[in-house]
C-alpha cells in the first residue's frame, strides 16, 4: 500500500473559465431583468437566477459534482431545512389575519356551544 499516492479529480481549466463566464453573464441578466417590471415574478426570477448561480458555484467551484455524494447530501439537507423553515414561517405570517378575524368576534353567551352549560354554572354566577 502506497500511503503517499492520493489521486484527486482535477477539473480542467476550461471548465473553471466557462463557469466563471456563465456567472458573469447571469449577473448581467439579473441586473438587466431587475429594471423590467414583471409584476409578481420579479422576486421569483431573481431567486431562480441566484439559484442557478449558486448551483454553478457549488457544483464546479466547490467540486460537489465530483465529490463523494455525502457532501452533496449534507449541503442539500441544509437547503431543504432552510426552505421548510422559511415556507412554514410564511404560511403563518401571511395567514394570521384570517385566523384573527374568525376569532375576534365577541363571545355570544347564547352560542350553540354554551347551550348545555347550566345557568348556575361557574361562567354565569
Amino acid at each position: 500500500m502506497n500511503l503517499a499516492n492520493t489521486q484527486h479529480h482535477i477539473i480542467p481549466l476550461r471548465t473553471y473559465f466557462r463557469v466563471f463566464i456563465a456567472l458573469i453573464i447571469l449577473t448581467g441578466v439579473t441586473i438587466g431583468v431587475s429594471f423590467i417590471d414583471l409584476g409578481g415574478f420579479n422576486m421569483v426570477t431573481a431567486l431562480i437566477i441566484a439559484g442557478a448561480k449558486a448551483s454553478l458555484v457549488a457544483m464546479f467551484f466547490m467540486h460537489l459534482l465530483y465529490d463523494r455524494k455525502m457532501n452533496l447530501a449534507i449541503f442539500l439537507t441544509a437547503i431543504l431545512f432552510l426552505v421548510i423553515f422559511i415556507v412554514f414561517t410564511m404560511f403563518d405570517t401571511m395567514n394570521r389575519d384570517d385566523i384573527y378575524r374568525i376569532k375576534s368576534g365577541e363571545i355570544n353567551p347564547r352560542g350553540i356551544i354554551y347551550k348545555n352549560i347550566p345557568k348556575n354554572g361557574p361562567e354565569h354566577q
Binding site: 456567472l23 423590467i36 448561480k53 449534507i74 439537507t77
Partner: protein, 211 residues
C-alpha cells in the same frame, strides 16, 4: 511502509484524512447556511409585511457598487479555485500568487462596502432606533436598513474571517507545506470562501435589485 508527515496518527490513510476533513468542513458550512437562513427568514417576513417600503428603501442602495462587488466576489471565487487547481498540479508559486490575488479582491470588496456604509451612516439610514433619515415616507423604513446592515454586516465579518484564513494558507504555502499529495487546508479555505460568495449571490438581488 512509508508514512507521510502530514498524515495524523488517528487516520489510516491520507485519503481517509482528506475525506474526513472535507466532511467536517461541509458540516460546518451546513451550520453557516442555517445561521444565515434565520436572517433570510426574517428578511422574507419583513418584506412580506412591508413590500412598498422595501421597494422604496432599496432605491437608496447603489446598484453600481453592488454589481462591482458581485463581480469582485465571483472573480475571487475563480482565483481561489485556480489556487487549488495549481496546487493539485504541484505548482506552489502559482498557488501563492492566486491566493494573494484572492486576498486583494477580498480587500476591494470590503473597501467598496466601507464607502457604501459611510454614505448610509452619513445620511442616518441606520438600523432600528438609530435611523434618522427623513427622506422615506413609508412606515418602518428602519426595518429595511436593520436587515441590510445585519445581513451584509455578518457577511462582511465572514469576508474578514475568510481573509484571515487565506492569509494563513498563504504563509503555509510559502513555506512549501502543500503539494499535490497534501493540500487539504487550501481546499477547505476555498470551500469557505465559495460559501461567502454563495451568500452574496443571494444578498445582492434581495437588497439591490428589488424590482
Amino acid at each position: 511502509m512509508s508514512h507521510p508527515a502530514y498524515l495524523q496518527h488517528h487516520f489510516s490513510h491520507p485519503d481517509q484524512q482528506y475525506e474526513s476533513s472535507k466532511l467536517g468542513m461541509w458540516l460546518f458550512l451546513l451550520t453557516e447556511v442555517l445561521m444565515f437562513g434565520g436572517l433570510f427568514c426574517a428578511y422574507a417576513v419583513f418584506r412580506a409585511w412591508h413590500p412598498e417600503m422595501f421597494y422604496h428603501a432599496h432605491k437608496m442602495l447603489d446598484v453600481t457598487m453592488g454589481s462591482i462587488n458581485t463581480v469582485v466576489l465571483i472573480t475571487s471565487s475563480l482565483t481561489i479555485a485556480l489556487a487549488i487547481y495549481s496546487i493539485q498540479n504541484n505548482r506552489q508559486k502559482d498557488t501563492v500568487r492566486y491566493l494573494i490575488f484572492t486576498l486583494i479582491l477580498a480587500g476591494v470588496f470590503l473597501a467598496v462596502k466601507y464607502f457604501e456604509y459611510m454614505h448610509k451612516i452619513h445620511l442616518g439610514q441606520l438600523p432600528g432606533k438609530y435611523y434618522t433619515y427623513a427622506g422615506l415616507g413609508d412606515n418602518n423604513p428602519h426595518l429595511f436598513f436593520s436587515m441590510y446592515f445585519i445581513m451584509t454586516g455578518l457577511h462582511g465579518i465572514h469576508v474578514l474571517g475568510g481573509m484571515a484564513v487565506i492569509g494563513w494558507v498563504i504563509l503555509r504555502a510559502r513555506r512549501g507545506e502543500f503539494s499535490a499529495e497534501y493540500y487539504t487546508p487550501v481546499e477547505l479555505v476555498g470551500l469557505f470562501w465559495h460559501l461567502v460568495d454563495l451568500i452574496w449571490i443571494f444578498l445582492f438581488p434581495l437588497f439591490y435589485l428589488i424590482g
